[in-house]
Subunit: 155 residues, 2 copies
């Protein structure tokens, strides 16, 4: 990886670039991108006084080419925090050049710094390039199903 | 459900009962229960000045019959917090009496109160009673794989 790559926390100045990349990932994953109200909440939850996640942009020289959202969950059996990767994304035209690996390695550094016992994340079963990537990184695929209840089922 | 059921936050007084139930769940899931050091971390992370999760005990009259650990993750596309259920456990001799449903409904209340967009959790693929339970509750099984990296892979 060339030394022109850098990863920096999202700031008020770079928030709009970050938002653009989130929309691209939503599009790639065939899910609804954040609407106007969601975009406003996202800014508050990212940059307000009580951030709900940590967001980073990856730059190749001066150009933002990807982003990362992580937060910390918890393992009751290890009694240690877990670094959870919510989103890891590299723009289509910048793939296959090691940026994804760079972002993933950055997650490892974060997990190490925070004293985590694990890193965890989930991947759509149809996302073959991502599955390949994580298998190459010797990640363990758990024998677990992932369940969800939507808001209209509890609110 | 009889009106003798109650759910209360774990306190310094009830921590040892909570710990006993965690060990039982670890045993049921065939994973290592927290060792002595982990038990100390768990107490700090549960009851210290910076709690990393929310822990509850369910009581039938005066007897603790189950526990719950939740924390809040985040959906970048919804731009809303997600209630994540880490552990939900009812002692073996108290199952099939509606306590699991009571705990799950309590989670729904928490998610609603916190303004969450979703509730999420994962279940071992071999845990047939749990899978049945969540299917009955109309939970959506996502087409996602769950991945993990252990500490020795990043630290």
């Amino acid at each position: 990886m060339s030394n022109t790559v850098s990863i920096e926390k999202v700031t008020t100045t770079t928030f709009s670039i970050f938002l653009e990349l989130i929309k691209q990932l939503a599009n790639y994953e065939h899910v609804e991108p954040p609407d106007t109200q969601a975009q406003q909440r996202l800014q508050k939850d990212c940059l307000g006084t009580h951030p709900l996640f940590d967001a980073y942009l990856a730059y190749k020289e001066e150009t933002a080419i990807g982003y990362l959202i992580v937060y910390y969950t918890y393992s009751s059996f290890l009694a240690l925090p877990t670094l959870f990767i919510e989103d890891i994304y590299v723009k289509e035209e910048h793939r296959q050049q090691g940026y994804g690996q760079y972002l993933f390695d950055f997650c490892k550094q974060l997990a190490n710094k925070r004293g985590c016992g694990r890193m965890e994340w989930n991947v759509y079963t149809w996302n073959a390039p991502a599955l390949d990537f994580y298998e190459k990184n010797h990640a363990q695929r758990l024998d677990k199903y992932y369940y969800r209840l939507d808001k209209d089922q509890f609110a």
